[in-house]
């Protein structure tokens, strides 16, 4: 992929001075091991290095896509969201401070982008989320830990239940519980990402867990009865 000099017009800082076309390696093979440090990459990308920015995208894309998919519930929206996330990262990388946690910053942008998409979707009067439908279309590989077909089916049903329960959560509770329970951030980190207090996040997490538990309890019973 050729990147012309005009690409650097809006780069965070000093990028316009780089007037050379850059051949971007797809899997970052051009970068040596010493250069792969995240801090160095961020520094270089902030200075307008397209290769470094491409590397950042490659390394963080799976996380951004996964979080976007969990928040939005379908692949199409998740793709749009991750695209917008990287555009914002490119735009605001100059403001990123090196002492910050890059992935926390990235998740904050992701959550904000997802919130904007959800808001737009609500304004257009679309249905909240369609995780279940998306899962039906491209059902993920179920780990074959148990050979028993019934166990596998139960497992799949439970996961579907969880996804539906999450889809019904309010945006803030959804973001809190996904960051805390799925992405593995601490409550304090979640609070920082969401620009909220720990107490509020704790309350949101508690409420979300309760709702998911109640939803699963209610629908699990129905599922078992139907079987």
């Amino acid at each position: 992929m050729k990147v012309g000099s005009e690409l650097f017009m809006h780069a965070p800082s000093g990028a316009s001075k780089m007037a050379l076309a850059v051949e971007i390696p797809l899997l970052g093979t051009a970068l040596t091991r010493n250069q792969t440090s995240l801090d160095l990459l961020i520094e270089r990308a902030a200075a307008g290095d397209a290769t470094a920015f491409e590397q950042i995208m490659i390394s963080s894309q799976p996380r951004v896509m996964a979080m976007s998919w969990r928040m939005l519930g379908n692949e199409a929206d998740a793709r749009d969201a991750s695209q917008e996330v990287f555009l914002r990262v490119y735009k605001y990388l100059g403001r990123f401070k090196q002492d910050q946690d890059f992935f926390a910053w990235l998740y904050r942008i992701t959550v904000n982008v997802c919130r904007d998409i959800l808001k737009k979707r609500r304004q257009q009067g679309e249905s909240p989320v369609s995780i279940a439908a998306d899962m039906d279309e491209g059902r993920p590989e179920i780990p074959a830990a148990d050979d028993d077909a019934e166990q596998t089916l139960i497992h799949a049903q439970q996961r579907e239940l969880i996804s539906r329960a999450i889809a019904l959560l309010p945006y803030k509770e959804r973001a809190s519980i996904l960051l805390r329970d799925v992405e593995g951030f601490s409550t304090e980190e979640v609070a920082r990402i969401l620009k909220s207090s720990s107490t509020t996040v704790r309350s949101q997490i508690s409420s979300a867990r309760r709702k998911i538990r109640d939803y699963c309890r209610r629908h699990q019973g129905l599922t078992q009865e139907s079987r």
Partner: protein, 247 residues
Amino acid sequence: MNCRQVEKLLPLFTSHDLSDERVRSITVHLQTCARCAAGAKEYRETSQLLQEFVPPEFSEDSFAEIRRDVWRQIETASDAPTLRGLLAGWLQPRLVWAAAITLLVTVSAVGIYFIANRGTTQPSVADKPAPVNRNTENEPKDKESPTPRLASKGASDIHPAPGSRPRQRTHQKVVTDQLNSLALNASGHASNSTPPLTANTTESAASFKKDTTKTLRLEIQTKNPNIRIIWFAPGETKQPSPNSKGI
């Protein structure tokens, strides 16, 4: 701790989001309460299920496509001038300074021009047409000032207030107004019988209008053909005194 309190804290108990003291209390309660213990088990299972809430696998092609789209949008954005960019371009410090200085110089020049012209380009009294109106409204306002009255009605208007020393322009205007007034009176009188003003009066008035620095000489013919009012007045420095007139 009772069941209600424990039930409230159970969602946070499973993820160790509580203080050690509360965790101890709840643990003690769960050992004795089967219902709350079952609730805690449900939360643990839910938490495990959440860990398995994984998205479908996205192909490397789709990732690459997203990256290509990102670069394409960056390229497009760099081509299109944004409002912010335009504003930033306009609000460059150098440009702002240049605009401010230009504005200041322009305003100063216009101000100086007007101030300078205010003193010089005020319409000259000589250019003013004499009022044709015969109404007494056109007579000067200082008509009732305590001036010594002359025999002639028209002559009473030609004297400025004694003791006052108006500025040149004011004085010039007053005298011109008085002249006009006199011309009116004279012509009013003449309309009945003889031509209005004598040649001397007109000449003197004209000469006064041309140059106020010369001595002014006014001759006014009254109703009585034997009485003529002649008035001498200095140009600009000397205040005309009542003694300067002769009959």
